[in-house]
Symmetry: C2
Amino acid sequence: MEIRNVKSSDYYIISPLINEWWDGREMSNKLPKLFFDYFNNTSFIAEKDGEIVGFLIGFLSQSDTNVAYIHFVSVNPEFRKKQIGRRLYNAFFNSIKKNNRNVVRAVTSPVNKASIVYHTKMGFNIEKGDIEIDGVSVFSDYDGINQDRVLFVKKTN
Amino acid sequence: MEIRNVKSSDYYIISPLINEWWDGREMSNKLPKLFFDYFNNTSFIAEKDGEIVGFLIGFLSQSDTNVAYIHFVSVNPEFRKKQIGRRLYNAFFNSIKKNNRNVVRAVTSPVNKASIVYHTKMGFNIEKGDIEIDGVSVFSDYDGINQDRVLFVKKTN
């Protein structure tokens, strides 16, 4: 398996797959093409035998020169439990290290239990929000009305 | 009227207004909170007597060090025809000049005739797509199936 940087044309392969990889949740609208055009040096594709099996879209904060943000990560369900996610995160961590960043942020929906477990396993801490859902601290209405979010942060290096 | 940089908390004032400012089109989901957190130095608010009357969210490309991108611009309909949009664009152009960028890109939906007219008036060129709609060149399925887009580009400096 190969990890490489995202290129713009990957959008047209990945976008139609996203909802399927997310168990039918409408997720592709969270990932317009701009994310494949402007953050290529901190975004990565996992490819096996020429087929895209996972990807990570991340970028450097312009506002805080210590911080980087992971917007979206997904792995083809048929290729899970193979450390593909870990390799994508590590590629991202390496890319931000080159840019002298040592704080990584990410958010997820409280409903996405797998993501919460995964980020915790990867060493992310959960920030203290204003409510608790199933024992996890959550920021209510963080991304709009009824759009609660779990906020992750990890210090790298 | 005052133009200032965006801050994170502006999201909670602006997000509930967006669909209303866009004649009821569902647009707020194109603007998650991350756009108010990570690109503050190239994103701007227009305020009159302490009330937000317009905003521009833009960022620097990480992939191409000449390029900057305008993601979203909106002005309260009650405050249009007052050059607020122009002042927001000019604030953005100044901010990217400081970062040695001289190419600005933006996209819009073909249905948004006002945006097409406005960008043309502001000196943006329309890139040649694969189809034409009402005399305007368009990239079909650019942002996903049935998500056609008009692509704008402007050289500044």
